[in-house]
């Protein structure tokens, strides 16, 4: 956990110090006008949004992975992220403001979660069936989102395309405040859910035996995960793979699952955003493209490892 905190701090400093415009260290140290504009006004809110959105996604992924006892059960694979993306997109198309985009993302995520759960229900939930249903749902939801895009005018479409691929360009402190407030409510709830999660890990029957209302706890934790995804999607767009990666990586670092996943999610997002805007000169890639390039090989690697262990 100490290593992870150190890494997070380093990632934040890197995110502040580097970017599209090169700023010599002497200028940073003098803190002149350029440094203040570049770091204080442009980069700091962007990094803050990356940290908070990444933490929310990482936490949401870890919650769902523990809940379904499957490392592949993350909100992006299950279609929740696509649902939140479509919800926000509809609001963008209708010309809504920041708050209504958040609400759109939240209701889209909740509806997708309910639909995927209902469609995978067949005298109980088999995690793998739910994953397959989620893959199908993402396909449909993304196609509808794409269609919505073709209905927008040129400038709106470009903005929406950027937003849909998960982008942190031009984030200001308002965005950071927005997700900060969401997390202020959701993080304590996540801490409270930890106890239930540790019992659910033992299986439904044991958890019931130990005095847990299994169905109630499940629904509550799933709702919490959806709320976390929605608050991240509202400010950063549907960034893929962060939620999937964070939990397993945190375990690898020997950190506690939930807290570790939040910190890893933040680190991954800040670094991916840094790479997206600073890796290739003169090119600003959306964050989501970068997490896709980093995350998809990880998913493939995890698949082959799960297969070798004969668990998939």
């Amino acid at each position: 956990m100490i290593r992870l905190s150190g890494l997070l701090l380093a990632a934040i400093l890197l995110g502040l110090a580097f970017g599209e415009v090169h700023l010599p260290p002497s200028a940073i140290l003098r803190w002149d006008g350029a440094a203040e504009l570049l770091i204080g006004v442009i980069r700091a809110p962007r990094v803050a949004v990356a940290v908070l959105a990444g933490a929310a996604l990482g936490l949401a992924g870890a919650l769902l992975q523990s809940l379904l006892r499957n490392p592949l059960a993350s909100p992006d694979v299950l279609g929740f992220t696509s649902g939140a993306g479509l919800g926000a997109m509809l609001v963008v198309a209708l010309g809504g403001g920041a708050l209504s985009i958040t609400l759109g993302a939240a209701s889209g995520g909740v509806l997708a979660a309910l639909a995927v759960t209902a469609l995978s229900w067949k005298s109980g939930i088999v995690p793998l069936r739910m994953i397959l249903v989620g893959i199908g749902a993402s396909f449909t939801l993304q196609a509808i989102t794409q269609f919505m895009m073709t209905r927008l005018t040129g400038a709106e479409a470009v903005e929406a395309a950027r937003w849909l691929s998960g982008s942190l360009a031009a984030r200001h402190w308002g965005h950071a405040m927005q997700i900060g407030l969401c997390l202020a409510v959701l993080l304590p709830l996540a801490a409270l859910s930890l106890r239930a999660l540790r019992l659910l890990e033992l299986g439904d029957e044991v958890a019931t035996g130990l005095g847990l209302h299994v169905t109630r706890a499940r629904a509550g934790i799933a709702a919490l995960a959806v709320a976390l995804v929605a608050s991240a999607v509202a400010v950063a767009g549907p960034v893929p793979f962060v939620a999937l990666l964070a939990g397993p990586l945190a375990v690898r670092f020997g950190a506690p699952m939930l807290l570790g996943a939040a910190v890893v999610g933040a680190i991954v997002t800040v670094l991916a955003d840094l790479a997206a805007r600073g890796l290739i000169d003169g090119v600003q890639l959306p964050l989501g493209v970068m997490t896709g390039i980093l995350g998809a090989p990880y998913l493939l690697w995890m698949l082959s490892r799960e297969m070798e262990r004969g668990r998939l």
Binding site: R69, R195, R198, L202, E205, V206, T208, G209, L210, G211
Partner: protein, 256 residues
């Protein structure tokens, strides 16, 4: 008597498995539930443990409908070990046992000295002190099952229900485990109820045997009265003679 079922019907997967069953679990004794495959013995145990809600009738714990009571209060009185439970990846023996303390802790409750005492008692009762920091995955089958039993012991309940606790164990480990359950019963007066497959072991290590057949209780009582040529033929369709065990004098089943 603390745990009773009155007139219960239980359906499982839409099929009625148990019909009009009345049962009283004797306090402070080791009880075995036996019966042929598909007779509803596991379903009965799960119903007694409130995992399944009967479609008719009620299960009473201390005179109160078990589904009307707060599930946490039930968890302080009644512990349960399901068949082949799954342990989360990387969990250690001590951590698994500590999770058995859940019903005794409040939402924000800290780990108390009483929790430590209960955990250590469970470790020593199951002889797992030396393995406390090992991951569950590194244990042998017999040790793993003892760790799970230790978890239910840490729950510190006067009643303990176990669903086929001896499955997948070899004979010495089965005997070892049933002796452990007997010791737990003698030392603390716990009521122990397990579903067992092996008639010989059930006869040898229980005070009270419940024979189930087609969703009904066919016979119950001390092993020597219940395990007879007659019940074996009716319940299992097994032709057998029953002779006294040369060591313990309990009934010994010899198939014809």
């Amino acid at each position: 008597m603390r745990l009773q079922a009155k007139g219960i019907d239980v359906a499982y997967d839409g099929r009625r498995v148990i019909e009009g069953l009345d049962l009283t679990i004797p306090d402070g004794k080791v009880t075995a539930i036996i019966g042929p495959n598909g007779c509803g013995k596991s379903t009965l145990l799960k119903t007694l443990a409130r995992l399944i809600r009967p479609t008719k009738g009620q299960v009473f714990l201390d005179g109160q409908d078990i589904h009307a009571a707060h599930t946490r209060d039930v968890a302080r009185k009644l512990g349960l070990l399901p068949q082949s439970p799954l342990a989360p990846e990387g969990i250690t023996v001590a951590d698994l046992i500590a999770r058995g303390r859940a019903p005794w802790r409040s939402i924000l409750g800290r780990w108390s000295p009483a929790d430590t005492a209960a955990r250590d008692a469970a470790l020593s009762a199951t002889g797992l002190e030396a393995l406390a920091d090992r991951p569950i995955a590194a244990l042998s089958g017999g040790q793993r099952q003892r760790a799970w039993i230790a978890m239910t012991l840490a729950q510190d309940t006067p009643i303990l229900l176990l669903d086929e606790p001896t499955t997948y164990l070899d004979l010495p480990h089965q005997v070892d485990l049933l002796r452990l359950l007997g010791r737990l019963n003698r030392d603390s007066g716990r009521t122990v109820v397990s579903v067992l497959h092996d008639l010989g072991l059930a006869a040898r290590f229980s005070d009270h045997v419940i024979v189930m057949s087609a969703g009904k209780v066919l016979a119950e009582g001390p092993p020597s009265e219940v395990i007879t040529t007659q019940t074996l033929a009716t319940a299992f369709g097994l032709e057998a003679v029953v002779i006294p065990d040369p060591i313990a004098n309990t009934p010994l089943v010899v198939p014809v």
